[in-house]
């Protein structure tokens, strides 16, 4: 089974809810009772169309205010794939929610209103998807029905967007332009005769053909140990298994590995998934590994292949997305959770703020507000084993936890 997680981004009124509703409707994913509820509520509100946002805005406060406050997860499937859409709000605390939704996604849809073209918000959406190194980005140029399905307008918007692409950091990102009308259902799930000049795929067809091997960024295998399994039963008396998820690459029986931080070497003896033994643990599988030698490994330690060492250091510089209403200050102390490992960290230096609309940087700042993005150096109380985010999407990222409130207050991408 394939699962593809997609983050959607759009400004208010770009038709994001309509697009999601259209996808659900045309893939027959809306059940009769849900559709009836939407019809009923749309009618009560006096709309002469179906307000699909009612299917996604789950909280009372959202329905009252007619806005999306929080990331919602929407599910649909085709015979080929299961899809999860992380629908992120377009305005309030936009950056925080967008970064959150994008962090677990393998593809993103950026919506542009064909009447308005590329606007400042579009820059931000693109910046964040690029910062998060989302491999596949679809630029859906929506409301084509309102511009007479004009090829010229589509091409002009495409050209505008392409001028942004030179500024991006992650150049290998795949970007696909698709003209659609979510309201009329053109080119979303079904092909249309209104766009004879467009030779590409529909939005859904494009998502369907994204190869599962290609949606994750490659890297080197990293195995952070979550839990040590010691059954102490007669049958498994001496069993010591290291439970964890494999990131970035694959690990096989016989591979020579190094345990970090002890730097002790051993070989992989067995790979278990439940009660079956495997030759190879693939990327993103939750397995249990045993080693040839009895070495000291505990939660937060990491197994890596010999010759494939990450950096081991007590300091690093990262790009931070700040998510808390309480400011981050230079000198502040936080807990850094890097995978399953936790360390104490001090903000050593806030180098500069990065404007997410590609308008440059602000120097001389000593604190960060909610939704700010900045380059920050940290000092840690003990070393962690990391890669640069550009080389390893998992082992190069972390979250910041407030030591008093215990809240997750920021996300970081190691430079």
């Amino acid at each position: 089974m394939e699962v593809l997680k997609i983050a959607t981004a759009g400004s208010v009124d770009d038709g994001k809810s309509t697009l999601i509703g259209r996808i659900l409707y045309d893939t027959k994913s809306l059940t009769t009772d849900k559709l009836e509820a939407i019809e009923k509520t749309s009618k009560q509100k006096g709309y002469d169309y179906l307000d699909f946002s009612l299917a996604t805005d789950g909280l009372v406060a959202e329905r009252e205010q007619g806005i999306t406050i929080d990331v919602a997860h929407i599910y649909f499937s085709t015979p080929k794939k299961s899809y999860i859409i992380a629908d992120t709000p377009g305005h309030v605390e936009y950056t925080r929610n967008m970064v959150t939704g994008a962090s677990t996604s393998q593809a993103a849809i950026i919506l542009i209103d064909a009447r308005k073209g590329v606007i400042e918000q579009t820059n931000r959406h693109f910046f964040i998807n690029n910062l998060l190194r989302i491999k596949n980005v679809i630029v859906a140029i929506n409301k084509m029905d309102l511009v007479d399905y004009s090829e010229e307008i589509y091409n002009a918007i495409k050209k505008d967007f392409e001028s942004l692409m030179g500024k991006r950091d992650y150049q290998e990102q795949n970007i696909t332009f698709i003209p659609v009308s979510a309201l009329k259902g053109d080119n979303v799930v079904h092909k249309t005769d209104k766009l004879p000049w467009y030779k590409g795929q529909t939005l859904l067809d494009h998502l369907e053909q994204l190869d599962r091997k290609d949606v994750f960024n490659a890297g080197t295998p990293r195995f952070p140990v979550q839990f040590v399994i010691r059954p102490k039963t007669d049958e498994f008396h001496d069993f010591r298994g290291f439970a964890g998820k494999v990131y970035g690459g694959e690990l096989s029986v016989g591979d020579e590995v190094v345990a970090l931080p002890s730097q002790t070497k051993s070989r992989i003896k067995e790979i278990y998934f439940h009660d079956k033994k495997y030759q190879t643990a693939s990327r993103r599988s939750s397995v249990t590994i045993t080693l040839e030698d009895e070495i000291n490994v505990s939660r937060g330690d990491m197994l890596v292949k010999v010759g494939d060492m990450p950096k081991i250091d007590k300091q690093f510089t990262a790009t931070i997305s700040w998510m808390d209403s309480k400011n981050m200050n230079a000198g502040g102390k936080y807990i850094i959770q890097h995978g399953v490992n936790k360390v104490l960290a001090k903000v050593d230096n806030i180098h500069h703020k990065i404007n997410p609309d590609y308008s440059g940087i602000d120097e001389g700042v000593d604190s960060l507000k909610i939704n700010d993005i900045a380059k920050v150096s940290f000092k840690l109380n003990k070393p962690i084993f990391f890669d640069a985010f550009k080389d390893h999407r998992t082992n190069g990222s972390f979250i910041l936890i407030d030591t008093q409130s215990n809240n997750t207050v920021g996300a970081g991408f190691i430079n």
């Binding site: 789950g58 790979i271 190879t280 990327r283 997750t408």
Partner: protein
């Protein structure tokens, strides 16, 4: 023995759920798995077995028993626990009623479903549980679509839906203050069909009420209600014997049946695939209002 080649065919949702369950065991001191005897919590038990093999599941199961369960569910629960050698804690809503902490509802739509919350919160306090693993899924209901995988509850067990921690990448922040607890939802990203397909593939045993059987029922508001001592029934509501099954299993007073001839798992999967009604369309407790689930969750409902 020849090794199986690679793990790439393994369901990504299964890998995710196992990762989450292991994080619970590692980050918390006293976790518990909330077990209702329904298909979602049965699936959780299988996932927990897989997460810790060859060791046993390192936490107990807990059932908040309304006393109005289907007898088939309770029988199944006891057998499963015995076969797997698991520890089961049962706390009864009846005790909360007897202690005067909650009041039994009366009348046409009376149910003990909402009363469970008090019993659950008391049990969490009694055992000092800091993490409760549950089988809720985001596709079930629109308030649940906003739920986190690690969802923090305050001293009163309440859900602050507007002030939730962001969850990034795979990283689960389980840091809490004393008195707080976390509700954990490992199958958040599964759909109803995913659960059924998994039960089919893994050959997991489930209670017989999920399959078509003859049952005494009555019809009200377009839904099929069980005829039982626990369910309020008007005199003019005629008892019928019909071939039905249940898509979701809760309290008898809040779970409606569907007409079905699906007598084995393959035909159930086929039926779900073709169904045009959502799973919770048969949950009477959700029909109370547009925000029924959100309100119950704020109060500490699972």
């Amino acid at each position: 023995m020849a090794l199986i080649k690679d793990t790439s065919h393994i369901n990504p949702l299964e890998n995710e759920a196992i990762y989450i369950i292991r994080e619970v065991a590692a980050q918390f001191e006293k976790p518990v798995l909330l077990f209702s005897g329904g298909k979602d919590s049965i699936t959780l038990v299988r996932l927990a077995q897989k997460a810790f093999y060859p060791a046993k599941i390192p936490f107990p199961l807990m059932h908040i028993d309304t006393g109005h369960n289907f007898p088939e569910t309770i029988e199944f629960r006891d057998r499963l626990v015995k076969e797997l050698g698991l520890e089961l804690i049962v706390r009864n809503v009846q005790d909360s009623i007897d202690q005067g902490k909650v009041k039994e509802e009366t009348g046409r739509y009376s149910s003990r479903n909402a009363l469970q919350t008090t019993t659950l919160l008391d049990a969490i306090e009694e055992f000092k549980f800091d993490a409760c693993i549950g089988g809720a899924r985001r596709d079930e209901e629109k308030a649940r679509a906003k739920e986190r995988i690690f969802s923090v509850r305050d001293d009163f067990g309440q859900w602050d839906e507007k002030n939730q921690r962001p969850e990034l990448f795979d990283m689960l922040n389980g840091q809490i203050d004393l008195g707080q607890n976390v509700r954990v939802f490992p199958i958040s990203n599964w759909t109803e069909l995913d659960v059924w397909s998994y039960i089919e593939k893994e050959n997991i045993e489930i209670p017989s009420i999920y399959f078509a059987h003859k049952r005494k029922v009555f019809l009200r508001d377009g839904m099929i209600w069980s005829h039982s001592d626990y369910v309020y029934q008007e005199e003019d509501e005629e008892v019928l014997e019909e071939l039905v099954r249940f898509r979701t299993v809760g309290d008898m007073s809040c779970t409606a049946a569907v007409f079905s001839e699906a007598s084995d798992i393959a035909s159930v999967v086929r039926e779900i695939r073709e169904s045009t009604i959502s799973e919770r369309g048969a949950r009477i407790d959700d029909k109370r209002s547009e925000a029924a689930m959100e309100k119950r969750k704020q109060q500490g409902y699972f």
